[in-house]
Symmetry: C2
């Protein structure tokens, strides 16, 4: 599963929480956050804290890894950065 947006991540967290048969309160306790935070992240809150997100993934047993272009001399970067930025800027919650 690839992650491009906070919503993607929220879906993953929710799925895996259910897989583990945990309710929001249970996951919150294990991660060390409030239930509120779980609600927010599962709904795709964009401004959630990175550290907490990583902890949640860890608790759920989800490994996160990057697929980097490695060392391609002349960078392809991303297709159209402006579009990505423009689109991302709108996503508030």
């Amino acid at each position: 599963m690839f992650i491009r947006t906070p919503a993607d991540l929220g879906a993953i967290i929710k799925d895996n929480r259910k897989r583990l048969d945990l309710d929001q309160a249970g996951l919150a306790e294990r991660v060390g956050v409030s239930r509120q935070w779980i609600v927010g992240i599962e709904r795709g809150r964009a401004r959630a804290e990175l550290g907490l997100v990583l902890r949640a993934l860890d608790v759920l047993g989800i490994k996160l890894n990057t697929i980097e272009p490695a060392s391609l001399e002349n960078a392809p970067s991303s297709p159209d950065i402006d579009a990505i930025v423009a689109a991302s800027r709108k996503s508030s919650t």
Copy 2:
């Protein structure tokens, strides 16, 4: 490259920024954040916003994917959650 901590992510971002021959200001502009933010994230700021981080990875051409336990009936979860939480709690930056 696996990501477990904000510092891991910072290192990845820094490496890839240099791979693309970008300075902090250049990357900041492309991502749509301040140069300050780049400085922070590369140093492992734990409380950075998820959405901005994802955008930075996108701009750098880094794909993020999860390796989930998929549907293992009885959850293995993570080894020792308490230790993870305790350790993570300290990382403030």
